[in-house]
Symmetry: C2
Amino acid sequence: MREEKEIFGKYLSRHNFRDTPQRELILDVFLKSKEHISAEELYDIVKKLDPSIGQATVYRMLKLLAEAGLAREVDFGDCVKRYEYNYNQPHHDHLICRGCGKTVEVVDDVIEEMQKRVAEKFGFELTDHAMYLYGLCENCRKKRTNKFVLTTYFVF
Amino acid sequence: MREEKEIFGKYLSRHNFRDTPQRELILDVFLKSKEHISAEELYDIVKKLDPSIGQATVYRMLKLLAEAGLAREVDFGDCVKRYEYNYNQPHHDHLICRGCGKTVEVVDDVIEEMQKRVAEKFGFELTDHAMYLYGLCENCRKKRTNKFVLTTYFVF
DNA sequence: TTGCTTGCAAAGGATTTGCAACATG
DNA sequence: CATGTTGCAAATCCTTTGCAAGCAA
């Protein structure tokens, strides 16, 4: 927490950006937030702590955080940008339940390695990737026997 | 082409939906279109063939096509829904160049298998997935020595 | 003082929806 | 003819932007 603030502080001065109470508050809330928070969700919390803050400031701050390397953008396919904490965090992908929305962070070295190879096979140098595994968690699978309807966005 | 129209026709009657000239035209254009077309792009073509068609009709039709199993939604991360032809097509993922936007369709059985296993490890039954590999193609890599700046959306 | 930041509201892009007129089965 | 369908425009959702006023350095 202290360390992250320091990093952000350095990022600001390095770019001649300014340290403002708004930025400090939003950073605080972001660092305490649960994973995969959206700008809207973050704004809702921040607003309660300081109703004078505008949502544009929150959007702008999330961009800054991503640029500073403290946040990472994730996109679950609903066209809502979500941000997760990214400092000193190992890279990971997401497993998402189509039933209840529950998410699990996953990594698999074999997959990562194969991704690199696939890219190379086509002459690409891999820079990054997005992998989202959608499925049904244990709980939701039990309910399926009733009349669970899956909203499919992708065809496996 | 004939077959796909038949499938769509059956889909329509099965659901008590109607066969209209607009739907036929849009289906025609979609079937002839290049991969990964967006609603906007499809509308631009359709409009030239029949300027009286509204874009809402195109949006509605793409939804129908996806429901009928003829189209598949893909999302390259820019929040623009794209559709690709999905009938009798083998499943594949995408390799996208961050420099020029060029896309390559890829499949890797090892990755597919590992995805299933990872999901199972967490008690999930995999229904589908989205995997986008971002990188630099050969051409864009050459330019990088000059002053290519990569817009990173995800951190690898 | 300089010029980065702010909140506001308006604009933006992509997609959806309400509705009256219109076709299809 | 009953009801699905259309085109239009307005509405929606999330996000960005222009701007004048406000602050940090």
